[in-house]
Each structure stands twice: as structure tokens, then as C-alpha cells.
């Protein structure tokens, strides 16, 4: 009897260990992250998908903490999820290492069978997920390595309450009746007004935007209002791109942060934040973050992401009556304005036992009417991915904000660029720039300037960035 117990023990230990690692292989496993309210939305869409298709889904919906590490650890194993998030920055690595499937045959089959047609994605957005594994080119090649979960843009927003107050107090006219607007009654057009020269919503130049910020930086009835308060790491790209700067050379081989155009845009942005007295200072930011000031109606101009809409709509219009506007252009000779496009995609594991079902699920999560209703119409956390739904989105007055077309201008009309992290095989080269960015900041109000000027910083950081880019390029060539 006791001998049997011992033998049982010996068998039980390996079984216990094996039990810890086994998993059910029923249906499709999706592993994605989101905030609590987003996870709730995803669950409902997945339930609806199962209801409509009969395909079982094992949904692992988590928060962002540790998502990337967990995914990386599972991708090379049999436990890899069928569907998971990927972004343009990681598509190259995943494709080169064959951990994801080329979705194109499955997408075409789905369209041919009368399912969701991937050709209905917003124009060009599929290209963010192309990668040519032979020539190592992003946005090129026939293969589609993921489909967009969302494509979002990050234009500027204005708070109508502060701007109207500025007009009422006479600040707007005082600071903006200059240059092209010197003879115009009331000064420069308000951000929601059309430019009389183009009959389109006005796009301020760098100088005009500074004037608008000056006009909205004042104290009234003991409340301090700030012209702007932008988060450097997200906002500076608009100024750099508008000035003609770029992070990498056309061929992606060289870091170009030390070019005159880049430095011009970068300097303009840092001056706006630190040296013109129009923004909340870094010291003040330590007390109350920019976002909180904006939400409390103390900042006139602030970036608005699509994902912010629900939160901004929850604030009383007496405090935050916001709308969208283009980011500034450099000057009349450089009329283009740009902001960055953020996108996340659904990829399918090359180890998936049910790739067709996995692609069906990804398409449903991305492009179905159910996902549009839940993620855009009832509560806006993303733009519609399906171009057949764009008109409905623009015409539906219940979807906020009113001039939401600016979001689509960024994505569809050439005013958006992919975030720099998507430009190379990994993002350590870009992270190098961000990690020491505080060297150009006035960290206390008493500082006369930052430790370095933007030009000095660009010269200092470029070789470090280039070293990281070179490693990334070498790894890409080696297919690692």
C-alpha cells in the first residue's frame, strides 16, 4: 500500500508540472490589452462574434503592464496566442522571424467568400503593416503582416471658453492684430474660423500660434490661464516635421536630428514651451500635469487624441468647450502641417492552428458594424477603420467633437506621419533622444536656459542615436 503511494507520488509530480503548462486548444485565442472600459467593450464584441459565427474565442484581455514581455515570451512557443497586438515598429522583426502569418491570402479568401472586405480599410492604412522581408523595406511588398486595430491622429485642440474670454478682455486683438492680420478687425481669425484667403479652417504659422498663446496667457479673477501646455514627447514632432525636419534619412540609414530643418523645428518648439512665457512651466507641471490643467479649463491649446474624446466629453462645456484644429505650419512658404499617426494592429501567429478563424476574428474586431458601433459611435475610442462607415461618422452629430473631420484629415489627407518608432527595426535609437531630452529644458523657473540649446543637444545626441540605429540595421540585415 505504502509502496503504491510512493509510486503515485513520483507520477504525480511530473503530471503536476505538466498540468501547469498545458492549455485548452479550443477555438481561437486572442491576447490583447486595454483599459478597463476598453476591455469591457472588447468582451462584448467578441461575444457578438461568437454568436454570429459560432467560433469559440478564448479571450485574454489584460492591462498594458507586462503585455509586451508576456507576448515576447510566448511568441516562440506553442502557447502563442492566435491573435495579438502588433504595431508598425515590430512588424519587421516579427515578419523576419516568421512568428506572424502573411494575412493576405486569408484576407482575400474572406473577401471572396462574401465576408468583410479588407479593401474597405481607410486608404493607405494597410500599408503601415506591409514589410518586404527580402529588401527589408517598411510599407513595401505584397505581404500584409497585420491589419489595423485602430488608426488614430493627434491634432491640436482649443478651449473655446478661454479664447472667448481672451476676445472679451481684448487680449486676442492686442496680440494677434499683427502681420497678415494687422488690418483685420478683431485680429487673427479664431481657431475655429476659416482663413479668408483659403476659406478653410485656419492653419496658424509658428508665429501666429505663439501670438494666439500669448493672447490666451492671462490671469482673470484669480485663475491663471495658459496659452498652451504640450507634452514634448508627443507634440514636438509636429513642429519638427512642419519645419521640414525628419528623424531619419530617406533610406533609413542615417539619423538626421542634426540637420538645420530639424533643429529649427525643435528649437521653435522648445522656445514655445520654455522661453516665451506662454506655457505652463516645467516647475508648475510638477505640481499639476498639463493634462489636468487642460481638463480643468486652464489651457487654451492642447493636443487631442481620438482616445481622449470620451474623457473630454465628460467635462462641463462651461469649463472645457473644445474643438479640433490643425497643428501649426512653419510659415507662409511652408504651408504643410503634420501630426503623428498612432496605430496598433492585429497580427496572427504563424503557429495558429486556426488561421482562417483567427483572421475572421481580427477583421470583425477591426471593421465590423458591431466594432464601429461600440468603439466609435456609442463611445469614441477610435476612428472608423472601414471607409464605408466614414460618412456616417462625419454626419452623425451625436459623435463628438463637432469638427471631428480634422482627425480624418490627418489620416486620409496627408497631414499625418507614422511615429518615428515605426521607422526602424527597433526603437532604441529614438528612445536615446527622448531619454536625455531634459537637457534642453528649463527645469526650474529660476533657470535662464536648459543645460544645452536644442542645436547643442542635437549635435550631442546624434552619434549616440546613430550607434543604436546601426545595431538595428545590422540586426535587420541578419534577420534577427
Amino acid at each position: 500500500m505504502k509502496k503504491n503511494k510512493l509510486i503515485g507520488l513520483l507520477i504525480a509530480v511530473p503530471m503536476l508540472i505538466a498540468g501547469c503548462t498545458s492549455q485548452a486548444s479550443d477555438g481561437v485565442k486572442i491576447f490583447i490589452y486595454g483599459q478597463a472600459h476598453e476591455r469591457s467593450i472588447y468582451s462584448r464584441i467578441i461575444e457578438k462574434f461568437t454568436e454570429e459565427t459560432g467560433i469559440n474565442v478564448n479571450a485574454e484581455l489584460v492591462n498594458t503592464d507586462g503585455y509586451a514581455e508576456t507576448l515576447t515570451a510566448s511568441l516562440g512557443t506553442k502557447n502563442a496566442p492566435d491573435v495579438f497586438y502588433s504595431n508598425p515598429a515590430s512588424i519587421g522583426r516579427y515578419a523576419m522571424n516568421q512568428v506572424i502569418l502573411d494575412l493576405k491570402p486569408y484576407l482575400e479568401a474572406e473577401a471572396d467568400e462574401g465576408g468583410i472586405d479588407y479593401n474597405d480599410f481607410l486608404d493607405g492604412v494597410i500599408d503601415y503593416y506591409r514589410y518586404d522581408t527580402v529588401n527589408k523595406q517598411r510599407g513595401e511588398g505584397d505581404a500584409i503582416w497585420a491589419i489595423p486595430k485602430d488608426v488614430s491622429s493627434y491634432p491640436l485642440g482649443y478651449n473655446r471658453v478661454i479664447i472667448n474670454l481672451s476676445v472679451e478682455l481684448g487680449h486676442w486683438e492686442t496680440y494677434t492684430k499683427t502681420g497678415a492680420w494687422a488690418t483685420r478687425e478683431g485680429g487673427m481669425p479664431l481657431p475655429w474660423e476659416n482663413d479668408p484667403r483659403t476659406d478653410k479652417q485656419i492653419v496658424y504659422t509658428f508665429e501666429e500660434f505663439t501670438n494666439a498663446c500669448r493672447a490666451t496667457k492671462f490671469t482673470h479673477e484669480s485663475t491663471e490661464y495658459f496659452g498652451t501646455a504640450l507634452i514634448d514627447t508627443w507634440a514636438m514632432h509636429s513642429w519638427i516635421w512642419a519645419a521640414g525636419g525628419n528623424w531619419l534619412s530617406e533610406d533609413g540609414q542615417d539619423v538626421t536630428v542634426n540637420t538645420p530643418q530639424f533643429i529649427a523645428g525643435f528649437t521653435e518648439f522648445i522656445d514655445l514651451m520654455d522661453n516665451r512665457g506662454v506655457s505652463q512651466t516645467r516647475e508648475q507641471m510638477g505640481i499639476k500635469p498639463h493634462y489636468d490643467r487642460w481638463m480643468e479649463g486652464q489651457v487654451a491649446f492642447f493636443n487631442v487624441g481620438v482616445w481622449d474624446v470620451a474623457a473630454f466629453e465628460s467635462v462641463s462645456k462651461d469649463i472645457l468647450d473644445y474643438g479640433l484644429m490643425p497643428t501649426p505650419r512653419a510659415n507662409d512658404a511652408s504651408p504643410d502641417w503634420y501630426t503623428y499617426i498612432g496605430t496598433l494592429g492585429y497580427a496572427v501567429s504563424s503557429r495558429s492552428q486556426a488561421p482562417s478563424d483567427a483572421v475572421k476574428l481580427a477583421l470583425y474586431m477591426s471593421m465590423s458594424m458591431e466594432s464601429y458601433n461600440r468603439m466609435t459611435r456609442y463611445q469614441t475610442i477610435q476612428l472608423p477603420n472601414n471607409k464605408t462607415m466614414v460618412d456616417d461618422y462625419l454626419e452623425d452629430e451625436t459623435i463628438k467633437p463637432e469638427n471631428k473631420g480634422v482627425f480624418l484629415d490627418v489620416v486620409q489627407n496627408g497631414h499625418g506621419k507614422l511615429h518615428p518608432t515605426a521607422m526602424a527595426y527597433n526603437s532604441l535609437w529614438y528612445d536615446t533622444f527622448i531619454a536625455e531630452l531634459s537637457r534642453v529644458w528649463k527645469v526650474t523657473d529660476a533657470d535662464v536656459s536648459g543645460e544645452m540649446t536644442p542645436a547643442e543637444y542635437a549635435a550631442y545626441i546624434q552619434p549616440k542615436m546613430q550607434q543604436q540605429l546601426d545595431i538595428a540595421l545590422a540586426d535587420e540585415q541578419a534577420g534577427v
Binding site: V13, A68, G76, S90, Q98, S427, E436, V480
Partner: protein, 313 residues
Amino acid sequence: MASESLPTLNNMALTLKLKGKKNKPKHVTEHLIGYLFIAPVFIGIAFFVIYPFFYSLISTFRNWNGLVPLEFAPKVGWEMYQRVLTEPLFWQSFLNTVITLSGIPIGMVLSMGLALLLNRGLKFTGTFRVIFYIPVVSSITAIIILWRAMMNTQGPINDLLLLFHIGPINFLGEPGYARASLIGMLIWKGLGTSTLLYLAGLQGISDSYKEAAKLDGANDWQIFWRITFPLLKPTHFFLVVTGIIGGMQLYVEPELLLNGGPARATTTILIYLFERFGANRISEASVVAWVLGVFVFIVTAIQFYYNSRRERA
């Protein structure tokens, strides 16, 4: 009654011994039973320590991204070591980590002082022990929020400094102050544990030594310096060794408090490692782990060597 009817481990072993006596020598059966009892732990160590140990060592000689099995990663010899060891940021991170170790002696002096005070049998000693230990058991997230608020340019520390016409100082925004703030927080957080350890050490010193010294005319300072301090050597040794091992693995506090900044001033070696991991440069991360492990091993070995030499002397 119940204990009589249920087989205990002892009589189970006895029964097995008796049964085994027929065929095997007694010590073999005893050893077998012993191995069976330690088997779960041994299997655990083999799977979760020894296997990853060699796996990570092998990965340092390949260019592995973690996306494919290690055996498919190209062999690159010492290239990953070269990449890491020639990168200025690696050495900066290493230096930052070593700088934070300067908090160890400061913390030891402070905790020894507190332990000496608590050992004098003053009133409310128990209450103070609890107070000093609160940071040890508090959530690190709560501590970080507290320290961020304290060190704000308009926080209570700056308010205090302003009374002396100093500041305001951006403790979290300027590299030098940020390092000092981090070290300060680490000392504060670790004070409770080291104070209790010193207190235990002090209470283990027999009063007869001090009384004998007093009879010989020694003053309080001489008693402390010639008797108390040397007899606390095991505690000093323990705190230095664990402090260095823990300090070299510093990650959560600088990451949450300062995100490794400003200007990389608090990027520790583990933050550097995780950045490589996040970029799928797993082999480089493994190299960092090995360099860190070897460094800690050497430092600890030196300490053990000198400690044992002093003990022999």
C-alpha cells in the same frame, strides 16, 4: 487516538526501512527516502535556476531576439559582449548603480544610531520600532507617490528649505538632486530592517563585556568603539553584502520615481537591461545579467575573504 491510527512520517520510514532490510543495505534505503523528500525542491531548482542559468549563458554567444527558439539564433561569438561593453550607456548605468550604493554606509550609520537609541530602554521603544518598520512593509507605489509629493518644487521639503532662503530645488528634475533624492528614499525605506538587525545584534552583546570595560575605566565612546562596534561585525557584514546585492539589482524605485532620468542620471544597470529586453535584444540583456552577476559574485567573494581572514586573526 487519531494520532495512533494514522501513519506518521517516522513510522512510514521505519516500515520502509524494515522492508528494505531484506534486499538493500540500510543506508541506501535511508538515502533514497531522503532524496525523495528533497526531490520537489531539487526539481524546482533544476528547472527554474540551473536550466535558465545555462540557457542565458548560451544566449550571450548568440544573437537571440526571443522570438524564435534559441537554437535557431545565429552564433556570434563574443559580439554581444562587445556591443554591450563598448556602449557608453552601459557604463553610465553601471556607474549610476554604483553611486546609489553610497547609500549603504549612510544607511548603516543612521540605523546603528537609531538602534543604539532604541537599545537604551527608553519609553515608547516598541512604538518607534513599528514606526521605523512601516516603510519596509508599505507599498512601493504609495511610497513613490509620497516622495514625489514631498520633493515637488512646492512640496514640504522645499517649503522647509525656503525658511532658510534656499531653493526652490527641483529634486526630481536635475540629475544631481535626482540621484540624491533616490538615495535618500532608498535609505529611508531600508532603515527599518537594518535598525532591527542592529538592535538584535546589540541585544546579543553580553552586558558583562561593558561592565568589565567600565571597571577598567573605559568611557562610553571607548566602550562603543572598542566593544560594541566590533561585536556587531556579523551585522555589518550581512548588511553590506545584502545591500550590495540588492543595490546592484535596483530597478523598481528609479523606474517608478524617475523613469531612469533626468538625462539618464538614474538609469541603473537593470533599467538598461530591461530596455534591451523590450527591444527584443535578449542576448544583450543576458550579457548585462552575466556581467552584473559576475561583478556581484566577485565583490561578495572579496568581502567573505576579508571577513573570514579577520575572524581567523
